[in-house]
């Protein structure tokens, strides 16, 4: 076989695999823009532009409950990403630049927090959030601040690890020079580390934001009314409201949209991100 021939066969195979990836998502989009009467019957993978409707999206977006879910998700993900980036940066800087006894153990311990199966922590977290972590009437249960803090257990080890690698890559001579000029630790972080680690911090922020946005299990058990997120809203379609498939598809599309949007920005960091650097992308 000629080289050019094999090139196009590989191309054709990848077209096929990409279709396998995209067809379920395309189908969901089709369901979300179909009129109710067109949902059932012979399935067609073609978009019928004449009968297309955005009603499902309009209904969902104007629904106060979903506005609240969406807002909660935005607040929780953004605040959590900012928090883990800030704390992760401080911790990573300490790990990278300071001589401390037992810091390798601390590093390992921080990372193990990410490994545990979340389901095993649901019950104790629920009991802690409703009981132990409360002051008078107020408890962490069903609050956005509760979720923001809790998602640290997933995202902080990740941010910590990712940022440590980035700070290790910045020559220590640069901050030593600043210290000689009389800068404080805070000034060194602000004027040397943060500017140089900027792109790395951005990647960390984006990935942790997506992880927090995607989280479901904790959000579903540790909130009830006020702090529900978009993922719990989506799950309610299979349990509470019966089966309004069009609206469910619309919500699911809105849920997966951020992931699709940021994919291009962070694509080459995803492998290192998901394996904690055990495999370099």
């Amino acid at each position: 076989m000629t080289r050019a021939g094999s090139k196009w066969i590989t191309f054709a195979l990848w077209v096929l695999f990409s279709l396998m990836t995209l067809v379920p998502i395309w189908w969901m989009f089709l369901v979300s823009v179909k009129q109710r009467a067109d949902l059932f019957g012979k399935p067609s993978f073609l978009l019928n532009i004449g009968r297309m409707t955005w009603d499902n999206y309009a209904i969902v977006i104007t629904n106060p409950a979903f506005q609240k879910y969406m807002l909660n998700s935005l607040i929780v993900s953004t605040a959590n990403a900012a928090l883990v980036c800030a704390l992760g940066l401080l911790a990573a800087y300490a790990m990278s630049r300071y001589r401390m006894k037992g810091k390798d153990n601390i590093f390992f311990w921080v990372l193990t927090n990410r490994m545990a199966p979340p389901a095993a922590f649901l019950l104790p977290l629920y009991l802690l959030f409703t009981g132990v972590f409360s002051v008078g009437e107020w408890s962490l249960f069903d609050t956005r601040i509760g979720l923001i803090l809790l998602y640290c257990v997933l995202n902080l080890p990740f941010a910590f690890w990712l940022l440590q690698g980035i700070i290790d890559g910045i020559p220590a001579e640069l901050d030593e020079a600043a210290y000689v000029d009389g800068a404080s630790t805070w000034q060194v972080l602000r004027t040397v580390i943060i500017p140089l680690a900027g792109p790395g911090i951005a990647v960390t922020g984006i990935l942790t934001w997506v992880f927090a946005w995607n989280e479901y299990l904790f959000a579903s058990t540790l909130t009830s009314v006020n702090a529900r997120t978009i993922t719990t809203g989506l799950a309610e379609f299979v349990t509470v409201t019966g089966t309004n498939w069009g609206q469910m598809a619309a919500v699911a599309m809105l849920t997966l949209l951020p992931a699709a949007l940021v994919l291009a920005l962070v694509q080459k960091h995803i492998v290192a991100g998901l394996t904690f650097g055990a495999v370099k992308g």
């Binding site: 990409s18 257990v153 630790t185």
Partner: protein, 291 residues
Amino acid sequence: MRSSTTGWLLLLPTIVILVFTGVMPFIYVLLTSFFDWNLFAVNPEPQWAAANNFRRLVHDAEFLKSIWLTLKFTLYVLVSQVAIGFALARLMMRDFPFKKFFRAVHTLPLMIAPIAVGATWRLMTVPGLGPIPYYLKNWFGIDYRLSMFPDQAFASVVLMDIWHWTPFVTLTLLAGLSNLPQEPVEQARIDGANEVQIFWDIILPAMKPVLLTTIFIRIMDALRVVDEVWMLTQGGPGAETRFIGLHIWKIVFPKTDYGYGSAMSLLTLYLTIVICWLLYVAMTARKERPL
């Protein structure tokens, strides 16, 4: 290297938060697992129960079944994903047009919320609406109903996981393949080795570290699968796809039998750690063994 006091101060917030969200729940679940504590019992206050909760676990058929299902699921998805992922990674190594685009599309499922993955597959498989039941019926005469047939439900969950996570295996193995030195392969080809020999004798041994890391991470993730399975089958029909995470979350936890639930959570955690540790030992032992 600078003095340690400032270093510890910088680490402090991270340690404090992880103590509250990671260590305290662990200690709490450890404590409550030794108590009888059910909000709806005659006496809703916690009472010391020694190891009774754990004794109950060993005879709990539902719990044992969920463990068995989880292990079966993990084995199925792992074998398929490693096989498919390796093939795709090799295919991605070739030179072809629009490679970057195809790679991005292939990566997409990894970023999607698992709950949305479940929703996607739910819409594909709902009878009357989804294309899968329709075409299985019309082309092959197969009656496909997730809520009726355990084997179909299990197979669908496995296929969904393959769709969702194979890209992860592809990407890690692709990273491994890209970093392999080319000389041994070239040399073997000059020496007259065929492609099958090159794969088994040169590429596979060289890929072992990446392969084992990938398998390790996939097992950890497969053992804790919940969201997408809940969206697709709700653990049904009956309890045929009710994996361990689902079992704790939907069955044990809402019953407010907190002592027993804690014992189950703890045992799940313990099993995960044991599996993790066994894998780790297997991985490191391989490396040290002389050839």
